[in-house]
Symmetry: none
């Protein structure tokens, strides 16, 4: 098992079980950048009366998911919010996707994240998502590729959603240290997978063989006529949130990857629907049964990735509408945070620090009255590493005793 960092060791030493409840709302890609015509960010543009009230009653700040200047991947941003140093506790993309679809990994399995993509007649990638093939088509293609043998290695292929799938390599002598085939840009060919150390030559060979076979099998399925693989990885063995924090934690997330992530840190994943309303309804239904809830809201990030400023504003406003319902549950601690920024202007994740809001009886209220990037800059929590969000939530829920004599 991955051992505890000093910081988590300390928390484990002082954490106490208690009936108090924490709700951590993660608004994916929360932070933004100002739209030039107005000079206002998505958060500043949105009408958020309920989040603003929560900010007024609570204490605000800005988190750095990894460090200033570092743009985090999705798992990194979340691990930090759960208190796990994301540099120390790293997970490959492949494992994340596999766990997210409830794939039963076996010891030694290596998982990779796959995309169906489009190659032109010259073998250059023209669409990394093959026109976002339908779930039905993806299922058909995955079934076609599933169970192929590359040498004595079996490749298990499972659809995730649209163009995304998981490829799990099962066989002797596999280690995950290989490069990606996904070039992450257009009008270039897929990259050959290379071994990153002498032990991983077998894995690289098997992966390249699988890709070649897949290319042949998919030739007639344009636009999904090739696969791109990335994030080869092995199941990590993280200390659980229950072990560290003495919590009984539950996750509410409609996207597989976030459910998978929650499982990796030992949360129970609650069945839920795809809408914001359904996620909040799930929280309400199970509120009595757990003392920590991670509620993940994806729409803001998707809108940001699509460069859709207005949609991101609309999703924020929709989320805001559910805050009164959340407050009715009267959690001891409410945290509203983001795993990273996804400014619509950048159409992707960014390095900008992320607004955070903590609401509790003991939070030492600051003067912030708007939940936005500029307002949070002046917040009482200051700017701090996202790994401190959990200790702060635990402290405010009176779940941590004194450290040291």
């Amino acid at each position: 098992m991955n051992s505890l960092t000093d910081s988590l060791k300390m928390i484990k030493e002082i954490a106490l079980p208690s009936p108090s409840k924490i709700v951590l709302i993660v608004i994916d890609g929360l932070g933004g950048l100002p739209d030039p015509p107005t000079g206002k960010t998505e958060l500043e543009t949105a009408a958020l009366p309920n989040l603003d009230r929560l900010a007024t009653e609570g204490i605000c700040g800005l988190t750095d998911p990894v460090a200033p200047g570092i743009t985090p991947g999705s798992s990194v941003g979340h691990l930090a919010l759960f208190g796990y140093d994301p540099v120390r506790y790293n997970i490959g993309r492949g494992i994340l996707e596999a766990v997210g679809i409830d794939f039963r990994l076996q010891p030694g399995d290596i998982a990779a994240r796959g995309n169906f993509c489009t190659l032109d007649e010259n073998g250059l990638v023209t669409d990394r998502r093959a026109g976002r093939v339908s779930n039905e088509k993806s299922l058909e293609l995955c079934r076609m590729l599933d169970g192929q043998l590359a040498g004595d290695v079996e490749v298990l292929v499972r659809p995730v959603r649209e163009h995304r799938f998981v490829a799990v390599f099962r066989g002797p002598g596999l280690v995950p240290e290989v490069s990606d085939s996904d070039p992450q840009q257009l009008d270039v060919p897929p990259k050959p997978i290379t071994a990153l150390n002498p032990e991983s030559a077998v894995m690289a060979g098997v992966a390249n063989q699988f890709i070649a076979q897949a290319g042949k099998a998919l030739a007639a399925h344009h636009p999904a006529n090739m696969v791109l693989l990335r994030g080869f990885s092995r199941h990590p063995d993280f200390p659980s949130m229950n072990d560290i924090y003495k919590l009984k934690p539950a996750a509410i997330a409609s996207y597989p990857m976030y459910r998978g992530l929650a499982k990796l840190v030992g949360m129970e994943v609650l069945p839920t629907g795809a809408t914001i309303g359904q996620e909040f309804a799930t929280l309400r239904q199970h509120y009595a049964d757990y003392d920590f809830f991670f509620l993940h809201l994806k729409g803001t990030d998707s809108a940001g990735e699509d460069g859709d400023f207005k949609r991101k504003v609309a999703v924020l406003e929709e989320i805001d509408g559910f805050i009164p319902e959340l407050k009715k549950l009267n959690p001891d601690v409410i945290v509203v945070a983001g795993d990273h920024s996804t400014p619509a202007l950048l159409q992707g994740h960014s390095w900008h620090p992320v607004p955070v809001l903590l609401h509790s009886r003991w939070c030492r209220r600051d003067s912030v009255s708007q939940f936005s990037e500029p307002a949070c800059t002046a917040g009482g929590l200051g700017r701090f590493p996202a790994t401190r969000v959990m200790p702060l939530a635990m402290a405010n829920a009176l779940k941590l005793t004194k450290y040291g004599a």
Copy 2:
């Protein structure tokens, strides 16, 4: 000896002896929380014209003694202010108490903090402090228990104050890794002391034997009819402040524990009285003889622990009255800091960051004009780990030269 952390190594490398003088005022449990009727903290409620003037002329900020969300014990908060990473340089409670009463420890001695307590007829703890027995009674009881033998181990028992005492175990083969007998709650029996590793079985046996003997000896002394032991520990061997900072440091503290702590980092402890005025008078008397003074003021913490908001306000105002006298001495650097927050509302130490004020000719004055939690949030020092207080004080006293080429 405990080796130097990288941070202290750097300071040691660049510290220069100089005639400039630093006064570090530690107001114990300084930070607070707003009183609901007024929305103002203890610091905001108190009339502090002199501290406010010092804040106006100086630069302010907020310190985290350990890290956001962590509530520090007393020694932890002080070690951080002295520049010692309190996670790395940890001290047991027993040693702290022993050093605080000038007990001459010998190599190999193991010290534990003791409480006289009250057990009912069923052996359950009904008062962890035996009604706060008088110093006189405590002395009598300690004399009774002092010098007992448990096997070939001698147990030396010395009173500290009221119900508190120190038990020092002197004999072969003792190591401190044993659990506490103090259950830290009422209506349960004292806990048997257990060995935390195979080497500490002898220590656990000796401690349990001593406790059994003490119970018999105290049977007739209700309410002080039992002892509770905790914080078994051995003398740490810290690098001294003189070695690191090239300072000649002196401590002024009326409470034994803080004097003990100061000794552990190599400060000379000056005899002083119990009042704030007497402590400031001691500073004045010895001002010519040292270049660093740690002046510890306990009343704020005691009031906070008692949940007495008004008394904490009154103690702050009393302290404020001595600031003009301090300024007359014209120290090159004045720092007013706290080892942790003790909000009256929480009746105990808390995790909230602590206001800090640095006054010097070179401090780069900010716009803060009130010494309070909200005002310091906007201070020029920002929010920073308390271990940086000493480097900042040293720099402002022009006692640190350039680092690196």
